[in-house]
């Protein structure tokens, strides 16, 4: 293994390591624009120049590999001069419109200018003008003046999605990024180009002008858009999600996520059920817990056999674990049905047809999916009177519009319909009791992705309205019905759950790999 000396620090690295990576291992940052760890290395921006002892010219650290005995300086006078020159060159025609740029605060050009340049512009001529606010795709805007032509976005479309939408047109100081005339940057992962654009040249149309990035708080979470479970930074301001950004996880999503998943945060703030309701009247939790426990107890007394329960693969493992205990220990029913969103688009990269984040979690917690009835059986059972009381988690059903309508129509036949959900979705006003549950942003928990990987997500902000995590709602009802389930923290459920699932060898949850 080659030994290199970087700024006086000796380290040994794998053969084939680039100077940039070796320097990072030795604890030195080499500034870079065009280099991205997941993409090919064009070495076109020259921001990463370093001095190698004995070499005639400065070398691009992103591209040059270390050799044994190499002595590298990343902060020598020559390097500092080169860094200043490169930045001056890049900034020559740059509009420096940071005050109206979404990237400000997380812009490499801004950061590097402060760290490596910090000199006044010597340009006295007028700057080049290029295209501003160019809608290069349905989700992404392009600003030609801010673009530093690093080609990261082009390489993303060539090497990651293979869709090849982008290229450089014209040359020199007229060069800009474009699609082929008549085409758009419209692949299902297009906003990733805005993530990797080191400057504010590509920006997300959804996030544009929504929030200054330094106001955002970031919480480690998991996308709920499908069963892939892409790791995300859930970024929020004043109890509202402003955007999702992919969080690096080489086991799941690398640096990427799909556009649909990225925009799925909107569900958290749409059509929310915020107050406990009884027959359309808002109650507080105290009142609704009493009413619900009384009604459920009466229903159990009358006809314990006619109790149905819809379990949701949208809920976390912790929620499901308490659902299972509630079902088994309090309700004592075995008429279970599986809810969740219907299948949708899938591809051979990240997007999965199963639009539920936790089907594998249901499998692990309930020991398989064989005991669950499907939507048709659910409707039949309601219509035939086999079910008179229905307890439903979440509002989704894996059904087309017509079947869903049949379900909604059948609800009239029920003696008691209890809905425990995030959303109203037209079901809340039909429910005798509607109990508001909070979203994955408002609590913590675990989702098991399609691959069997158990991934924790953290709480970003307090529950909206009066909503509570599903598991806490089950605890309230269980206590009111005289069979308390006693947990205080999510991790207690988690510990018990993992013991249980290890014991019966069902799911084999692996810890999510740290970033």
């Amino acid at each position: 293994m080659p030994k290199v000396n970087i700024n006086g620090t000796e380290i040994e690295v794998e053969k084939g390591t680039t100077i940039l990576k070796a320097a990072a291992q030795a604890g030195f940052e080499v500034p870079h624009f065009c280099y991205h760890p997941a993409l090919s290395i064009p070495a076109n921006c020259r921001m990463c120049l370093v001095e190698v002892e004995g070499a005639r010219s400065l070398e691009p650290a992103c591209y040059s590999e270390v050799t044994d005995g190499m002595v590298v300086e990343t902060k020598s006078e020559r390097v500092i001069k080169a860094q200043k020159s490169v930045l001056e060159f890049i900034l020559l025609n740059h509009p420096v419109d940071c005050p109206i740029c979404d990237q400000a605060g997380e812009c490499k050009l801004q950061d590097y200018y402060m760290a490596y340049d910090a000199q006044e512009s010597r340009l006295r001529a007028e700057k080049n003008q290029k295209v501003k606010v160019f809608p290069i795709g349905p989700e992404v805007l392009y600003d030609g003046e801010r673009c530093i032509l690093c080609t990261r976005c082009i390489r993303f479309c060539e090497e990651i999605t293979g869709t090849n939408e982008l290229t450089i047109v014209q040359r020199g100081d007229s060069a800009e990024i474009r699609t082929f005339p008549g085409k758009e940057l419209d692949n299902p992962y297009s906003v990733c180009t805005a993530d990797i654009c080191p400057v504010g040249a590509l920006t997300s149309r959804d996030f544009r002008f929504k929030c200054r990035v330094w106001l955002l708080q970031s919480t480690d979470s998991v996308c709920t858009g499908c069963s892939n479970g892409c790791n995300i930074h859930l970024e929020h301001f004043r109890n509202e999600i402003q955007r999702y950004r992919p969080r690096y996880n080489p086991q799941v999503n690398d640096y990427w996520m799909c556009d649909a998943g990225r925009l799925s945060y909107k569900e958290v703030h749409t059509d929310r059920l915020l107050r406990p309701m009884s027959n359309g009247a808002a109650l507080n939790w105290h009142g609704v817990t009493e009413t619900a426990s009384a009604k459920l107890a009466r229903a159990l007394d009358d006809d314990a056999g006619s109790f149905g329960f819809v379990v949701s693969p949208q809920a976390s493992c912790e929620d499901l674990f308490l659902a299972k205990r509630f079902i088994e220990e309090v309700l004592g029913t075995d008429q279970l049905y599986l809810g969740g969103k219907p299948d949708g688009f899938e591809d051979d990269f990240l997007i999965k047809a199963d639009k539920n984040p936790n089907r594998q979690g249901v499998k692990a917690v309930f020991g398989g999916l064989n005991d669950f009835g499907d939507v048709d059986k659910l409707i039949d059972d309601i219509e035939s009177g086999a079910i008179k009381t229905l307890y439903m988690m979440e509002t989704h059903l894996p059904a087309d519009a017509e079947t869903r309508q049949r379900f909604v129509d059948a609800l009239d036949k029920l003696d008691l319909f209890v809905l425990q959900a995030q959303h109203c979705a037209e079901l809340a006003n039909q429910a005798h009791l509607a109990l508001p549950a909070c979203s994955h942003a408002e609590t913590e928990g675990t989702f098991v992705n399609f691959d069997g990987l158990a991934q924790p997500f953290e709480q970003a902000f307090a529950p909206h309205g009066d909503s509570l995590p599903h598991w806490q709602i089950f605890m309230r009802l269980a206590r009111a019905m005289g069979q308390p389930l006693t947990y205080t923290f999510v991790h207690q459920i988690r510990d018990e759950m993992f013991q249980a699932s290890d014991a019966d060898e069902n799911g084999e949850p692996a810890e999510a790999q740290a970033e």
Binding site: N164, L166, I168, V169, R178, F180, G182, K183
Partner: protein, 175 residues
């Protein structure tokens, strides 16, 4: 008109791609071929070239817009490119431009109303020993140098060119 190589152009195309290790490498000569065949490089032509080379259209867009010698708009039948780099400048290149502007009634960058001539100013064309000079590129892909120019010689050349242009189609009508 459909964008498709004639039999003759097709033969040239096949020959061209056989000479390069991969199709991408044949991009520039094939674009020249396409320009002489279709008069100018429209979006349609780029698409066709991409198709024929089996590369993504953005690759063609990239190359075609990088080089100024591919005309992304139809120009005149004959493109007069006058050199004004050092030797030519010293030997009267600018006077040649002035004279051409007066005679043709257009400015640099423009095309005569009859669609015959487009006038440009360019850098050294490696004919410095016979300065001043211009290059004439025809819409059929032919290129000719005219050297040791003065006003008199330019008159002769224009006459010659005008005769030759009778037989050539307007680039904008070529596809």
């Amino acid at each position: 008109m459909a964008v498709e190589f004639s039999e003759e152009a097709e033969a040239t195309f096949q020959d061209l791609i056989s000479r390069y290790p991969n199709n991408l490498a044949a991009m520039l000569p094939v674009l020249h071929l396409a320009q002489s065949e279709f008069g100018w490089i429209s979006v349609e032509v780029m698409d066709y070239v991409a198709n024929r080379l089996d590369v993504h259209p953005t690759k063609v867009l990239n190359a075609a817009t990088f080089y100024t010698m591919y005309n992304k708009q139809p120009i005149g039948k004959c493109h007069i490119q006058v050199c004004t780099t050092l030797s030519c400048a010293l030997m009267g290149g600018y006077e040649i431009i002035d004279y051409l502007e007066d005679t043709l009634g257009i400015r640099v960058g423009e095309t005569t109303p009859d669609g015959r001539f487009t006038l440009s100013e360019v850098e050294c064309l490696a004919s410095c020993g016979t300065a001043p000079m211009f290059q004439a590129s025809f819409c059929d892909g032919e290129i000719e140098y005219f050297e040791n120019l003065d006003a008199e010689r330019v008159d002769e050349v224009l006459k010659e060119l005008n005769e030759k242009l009778e037989a050539l189609p307007l680039p904008k009508d070529m596809h």
